[in-house]
């Protein structure tokens, strides 16, 4: 074995010079990195989806204690499907919409803990969208959720238990955490600039008519319809085959925790899978695999389950015009869904 562990003074000098390079790079990069983080964070504050979540929680915290019969939790599919005003109209139950973008069951669990501090609902309706039952941790969804939480101890516990190590690092670095927000903001500004300078406009069929806005009690109203491209080229479900789909163990564990939490509080838990557009459902191969897995889980835990995609598999309930995009209902679809949901509750003896 050869050993090259000799040193000399010239080598020491050279080593010191090389070490100085690393120190100097760090000295240049760190302050600029922190400064850019501040710029990115400012852009994130202008993100409308984050603004909806913020408004939702502000409205929730303004509620009187124990004033709700029903709470909706889950992903964007949830806040784009259940309108508390319509639910009240069809069932007489007072409800609130607590869905947040891409909310995974781990997030739902902690959100529910926060909700149950001030509310004692009879029912918790949990949106079970398959995409949030995977193991891919979504820092964005977690971030937008806990930034609006009042209880900082839940936030700490959430970060400790749910965040993978690498995301704990990303979370602490603003330029990484808020990069997507800044890029979206900068793109929007760039597009506006180009439109003003060259008189260019969005491609025909790429501009959504109508509006999407935070409405009331957590619900996000929209009268928009799907873009032409979402029927084909930009449809997110194109080439999606559910043949090998399974529920991630980590999310399953949190779903079980949610079941236990509701049982301990004497709350009726209901699982619902919100509909995706008819055209999207047509693209999904082996959807039955997902339905079977969730149904079995629900049955095992004695939780009633409504899968809108199965109810709509032949297009009986919705048409593509009832969707704001390839996966979310617009208000015309929400009216159909909520009416159907109220009837389903009654038919199943739940309410």
């Amino acid at each position: 074995m050869r050993d090259s562990s000799y040193t000399s003074s010239s080598e020491n000098k050279s080593a010191k010079k090389r070490a100085l390079i690393i120190i100097c790079i760090a000295a240049v990069v760190i302050p600029l990195f922190l400064g850019i983080g501040v710029i990115y964070k400012k852009a994130a504050e202008k993100n409308t989806v984050n603004a909806f979540t913020k408004q939702r929680f502000e409205d929730f915290y303004a509620l009187k204690d124990n004033s709700l019969d029903m709470v909706f939790v889950g992903s964007s599919h949830c806040y784009c499907t259940f309108d508390p005003a319509l639910i009240e109209k069809y069932t007489g139950l007072s409800s609130f919409q607590m869905g947040t973008p891409l909310q995974h069951p781990d997030t739902t669990y902690f959100e529910l803990k926060e909700i149950l501090k001030t509310q004692k609902p009879k029912y918790v309706v949990m949106d079970v969208y398959w995409d949030v039952l995977d193991d891919n941790f979504e820092l964005k969804q977690a971030d937008s959720f806990f930034e609006v939480l009042k209880d900082k101890s839940i936030k700490k516990q959430y970060i400790k238990e749910v965040f993978p190590l690498s995301d704990k690092v990303k979370y602490s670095l603003w330029p990484i955490r808020f990069q997507q927000d800044y890029f979206a903001y900068a793109a929007s500004a760039m597009q506006k600039g180009l439109q003003a300078k060259y008189g260019v406009k969005e491609k025909a069929g790429q501009v959504q008519q109508g509006e999407e806005r935070y409405s009331d009690r957590g619900y996000v109203y929209s009268n928009q319809t799907m873009l032409e491209s979402e029927y084909d080229s930009t449809n997110q479900f194109k080439n999606f085959d559910a043949k090998k789909w399974t529920m991630a163990k980590s999310q399953k564990k949190y779903m079980e925790k949610i079941v236990s939490l509701c049982q301990s509080q004497n709350i009726s838990l209901i699982f619902v899978t919100a509909p995706v557009a008819n055209v999207s459902l047509g693209y999904i191969k082996n959807y039955g695999v997902i339905n079977k897995a969730v149904s079995e889980f629900a049955e095992k835990n004695n939780v009633p389950y409504l899968d809108f995609n199965m109810e709509n598999r032949n297009g009986e309930l919705f048409s593509n015009d009832n969707f704001r995009d390839d996966a979310h209902l617009n208000h015309s679809g929400v009216e159909i869904a909520d009416k159907y949901f109220a009837r389903w509750l009654k038919n199943n003896g739940i309410n």
């Binding site: 074995m1 562990s5 080593a15 790079i25 990484i176 439109q195």
Partner: protein
């Protein structure tokens, strides 16, 4: 475990720290355990395959070395290679072969129950199988003696920086380095970090960002046309280069910090004036592997012109198939074979023409050289359409629709529509274009080893350049849903 993940950075810091605190024997064990762990983070059970390949090649290399007769040596080698490539065939090519035979027989009206197995393609199988096979062939040829230590041989096969996507190291270069006790060196640390930074820049800033636009267009090719295809084609050329050479840089940088020198896998391939030169600079470890173990054994160029072209074509056909079990890869390889043959056939005439037109020196010579580089880049990019397309039909569709609306290509409205409908937002596209510009400038003016050049340029340029690169990575790199390296699937 991906190189572009925080988990890997933490893993590497721990391994590198432990490595320099241990005695030499302990270091080898540490690297071996770390390498196994690195691979098992993906699918633990598939480590069995690496252990098996290691054992088979270790065992046969010794038996071949000891065998007295040439015939017996040859038989043993053939048997060992059959096991190596047999496993590769089962895991990588079985379904492709079954489907192809089924289609051919179906064409002649012969239908049968097609055998189909749900086989996982083990990450990096083509890389470690080729590395192991090359070692055994080298022993058979008498170029090297078999390694006595099973642990060192295992580490040679599994050394984590190059395990899943190369470079495919030669035993002559790597094994001897495992016997050397590497002292911690600040020089190696800084150089390693600088090489890794360039790798992360290529991967996180360029490849992962533009992959979204590339996937959007290539996965929905029938919904696009014209300039979309042209841009997606160029972007994919940069994506694959940045993805793969980025991986090689990170691998080389990691190894450098630990005191190892891995071979250079890419040498500014897009500055090549000919396709022949391109292959001297692109995936060098694989090109030289095919040269030494396929092209030369087939007869190389020491035979008739026709046989030389046959050897060239077969080598590139096999090289295409090495990349993936699909006809798109076979066609990609075949195209390069054709380019090389045509290049060789016309070389003398082109040189004569250049001489007559005085395009071989001075200013016109430089213009001619630049034009050659552009044409080579264009040919490589066009061939990459087959590499990336989901099916052969998609690739032909792209070529037949790429010039659609060409008169409108430079109108502001059409450009705006294209730039805002490629799956990534226009700001991301701008960032990517700037990053590609930076990369091209680095390759044009940085030479083969930009870190060496900057070191010579002085302290301040070196600090400023790497600060800029580090900041670029940290503020514009893709850290959410960072993509796997493309070559992992090979």
């Amino acid at each position: 475990m991906l190189f572009n993940s925080f988990s890997f950075i933490i893993f590497f810091i721990l391994v590198a720290t432990g490595y320099f605190f241990l005695p030499h024997k302990g270091r080898i064990w540490l690297l071996l355990i770390a390498s196994y762990y690195f691979y098992m983070c993906w699918k633990p059970v598939l480590i069995v395959l690496i252990v098996f390949i290691t054992f088979i090649n270790f065992f046969f290399s010794h038996v071949i070395y000891r065998a007295k007769s040439a015939v017996r040596k040859k038989r043993l080698l053939v048997f060992c290679l059959l096991i190596n490539f047999g496993l590769l065939f089962v895991f990588k090519y079985f379904n492709f072969a079954a489907n192809s035979i089924y289609s051919v027989l179906g064409f002649f009206g012969l239908h049968y129950q097609k055998p189909a197995f749900d086989i996982i393609l083990p990450m990096g199988i083509s890389f470690y199988t080729f590395q192991a096979a090359a070692y055994t062939i080298d022993v058979y040829r008498g170029d090297i003696k078999p390694v006595k230590s099973y642990v060192i041989f295992s580490l040679f096969i599994t050394f984590f920086p190059q395990l899943v996507a190369g470079p495919i190291e030669r035993s002559k270069n790597l094994i001897k380095q495992f016997y050397h006790k590497h002292r911690f060196s600040m020089e190696n640390l800084v150089t390693g970090i600088e090489i890794m930074l360039m790798g992360y820049f290529k991967k996180a800033v360029i490849a992962d960002r533009i992959s979204v636009a590339v996937n959007t267009v290539f996965n929905n090719s029938h919904s696009y046309s014209g300039l979309y295809f042209f841009i997606a084609m160029l972007l994919f050329t940069f994506q694959i280069y940045c993805d793969f050479s980025g991986y090689s840089d990170i691998a080389k940088g990691c190894a450098k910090i630990l005191g190892f020198d891995l071979m250079t896998n890419f040498d500014r391939p897009f500055l090549s004036p000919t396709i022949k030169e391109f292959w001297r600079r692109w995936h060098i470890s694989l090109s030289t592997w095919f040269m030494d173990y396929v092209y030369i054994p087939l007869g190389g160029n020491r035979c008739s012109r026709l046989k030389k072209y046959r050897n060239l074509f077969v080598t590139f056909l096999v090289s295409g198939l090495w990349h993936g079990a699909s006809w798109t890869f076979v066609i990609w390889g075949a195209l390069h074979g054709v380019f090389l043959i045509l290049g060789d056939m016309t070389r003398e005439k082109r040189n004569r023409l250049k001489h007559i037109l005085k395009l071989d020196f001075g200013f016109l010579g430089k213009v001619s050289q630049a034009l050659s580089v552009l044409i080579t880049f264009g040919l490589a990019s066009a061939a990459f359409v087959f590499f990336r397309a989901n099916t052969v039909g998609d690739a032909f569709y792209i070529f037949s629709h790429i010039t659609w609306n060409i008169r409108k290509w430079l109108t502001p409205q059409y450009l705006y529509e294209v730039f805002t409908n490629m799956g990534i937002n226009i700001f991301e596209l701008k960032i990517s274009a700037i990053a590609i510009g930076v990369l091209v400038l680095c390759e044009l003016f940085g030479g083969k080893l930009i870190n060496e050049r900057l070191k010579k340029a002085g302290f301040i340029p070196e600090v400023l350049f790497y600060s800029f690169i580090a900041l670029f990575i940290l503020t514009t790199g893709v850290f959410y849903n960072a993509g796997q390296f493309i070559y992992f699937q090979f």
